[in-house]
């Protein structure tokens, strides 16, 4: 301070926020590139405005369908689709959890030997890289149309999600507790049962409930490619321009998703 005063140096009285990217060359290159890309991308999007204007009438009919949803006319189709969606959600979540628990344990670096670890991580990576709908297409080609293909898809997708998060959880456990169990002379299975399982169980239940949620949402989509469920019903309703039935289906989906979310948050609160 005194040094600065004596040397006559003046401190700045205004302050400017440092830029987000420090190096100016990089900063301008990134900003310029981003703007160039955006301009090109926006220009490459062809919008047929007359078609859009035409569609506004349909949008209006869809919205009016929401005000006056028709549950009655297509009720048998809707009920069947819902039944397929719900049953395949539950079955796929259960099977998915059963498969992902051993894979999740195998993918935890602190419990599994390296070859097992790599295999399990590979399975997780494959399951996560492929979008549910693409998996559904392949399963439909293999086992035919219907909810079984959807069930297989959802089970497969559950593995990537649950096993990955479970593995991270197992890696994060308090090692002291596992050490204590091991010091008591426990076998590997006893170690899992008494040292690891109690620590990860609340999270596992929470994640499973969350996955149940996701699986229901996805079950509403896989039907579009023929894998059963409410998505097929929705697709048919839209193809037939039956917007009031489509609105009824969408309302049902939203209500069930919200119930799932509310219910699972209640259960999770009780566990934690």
């Amino acid at each position: 301070m005194t040094d600065a005063v004596m040397s006559g140096r003046v401190y700045p009285s205004t302050w400017r926020r440092p830029p987000f990217i420090a190096n100016p060359a990089w900063r301008w290159a990134i900003y310029g590139g981003a703007i160039l890309y955006l301009v090109l991308a926006v220009n490459s999007v062809e919008v047929n405005w007359s078609r859009v204007a035409e569609g506004m009438a349909r949008a209006g009919r869809l919205l009016s369908g929401f005000l006056k949803p028709d549950f009655v006319n297509r009720w048998s189709d809707i009920a069947l689709g819902m039944q397929e969606s719900l049953t395949m959600t539950v079955a796929a979540t259960v099977v998915g959890i059963l498969i992902s628990v051993p894979i999740g344990i195998g993918a935890a670096r602190n419990l599994a030997p390296t070859p097992v670890y790599l295999v399990c991580r590979g399975i997780i990576a494959i399951s996560r890289a492929l979008h549910e709908v693409i998996v559904a297409i392949l399963f439909v080609a293999m086992v035919g149309f219907g909810p079984l293909a959807g069930f297989l898809t959802l089970s497969f997708a559950t593995i990537g999600f649950l096993a990955k998060l479970l593995a991270e959880d197992v890696e994060d456990i308090d090692p002291a507790q596992a050490e204590a169990v091991r010091a008591a002379g426990a076998s590997w299975l006893q170690l899992i049962n008494y040292g690891v399982q109690p620590q990860v169980m609340p999270r596992l239940i929470g994640l499973s409930l969350y996955r149940l949620d996701i699986n229901f949402r996805e079950s509403a989509v896989v039907g579009i490619v023929g894998a059963g469920g409410i998505g097929a019903t929705l697709n048919t309703a839209l193809d037939r321009y039956e917007y009031d039935s489509a609105a009824a289906i969408l309302i049902l989906i939203i209500v069930i998703v919200m119930l799932c979310e509310y219910g699972s948050s209640l259960i999770r609160q009780r566990i934690q």
Binding site: R58, L130, G144, N235
Partner: protein, 272 residues
Amino acid sequence: MPVSRTAEGQPEWRRTTPRQDLVRWFGWLLLVALFVFCWNVMTKDTIWAFVWDAPNQAADIGSRMVPPRWSYMSEMWRSLWDTLAIATLGTLLAIIIAVPIAFLAARNTTPSVTLIRPVALLIIVSSRSINALIWALLLVTILGPGVFAGIIAIALRSIGFVGKLVYEAIEEIDHSQVEAIQATGASPAQVMNYGIVPQILPAFAGISVFRWDINIRESAVVGLVGAGGIGLNLEASLNTLAWSQVSLILLVILATVLVSEWVSAKVRHAII
């Protein structure tokens, strides 16, 4: 921790009381019963002959898939560009809409906790509960097929995701910094700019890049219902049973997803 007596009168440690045991077994029994019920309902229309034939089908499809038809790549570049545009512009549109909604939804920045916050939360929840593919299905009937419908679908789906995570980030900010800015006599806009925005900027950037990464996957499939991008090629190739093209498309999707994951990891690493 309950302690029971063994037959010889020795104390024995147990993790649960007999009563807890009973409740747990009953819970598991219910779960198994539910699973069996769902399985039976789900598979009542399954044609098992197709299912047992699945390995043959898979082998057959697999043999048709290799080698991928590399020459088809010349038709893919445009779709790849469109897919990127759908993901990027969709994410951008979602961010533009979601950020104000997030500020309205956060308890500490909303103008009214009783009136405006529930509305903002409703928008966030309803956007999240409908899958991008269903949004695409609706928008294709409204706007007509093409990239435009895809962008809007991706944007509508992402609003809820970005909005939810950003408003949670806003609620978690350090309030003392806001007070410090307020103490200097800053206007509400300046408080926002210097007190709140810098605190949520890293989280916000991370969330945006994360969602962009997810949207790359989603934008690859919205074409299945006519909303532009690689999905259109996939749909066309599936309909003509051109499996060698399907495998090329899957490879392209996989490569795109891997690149996007790499980019988002790099960006997140640079920010945080």
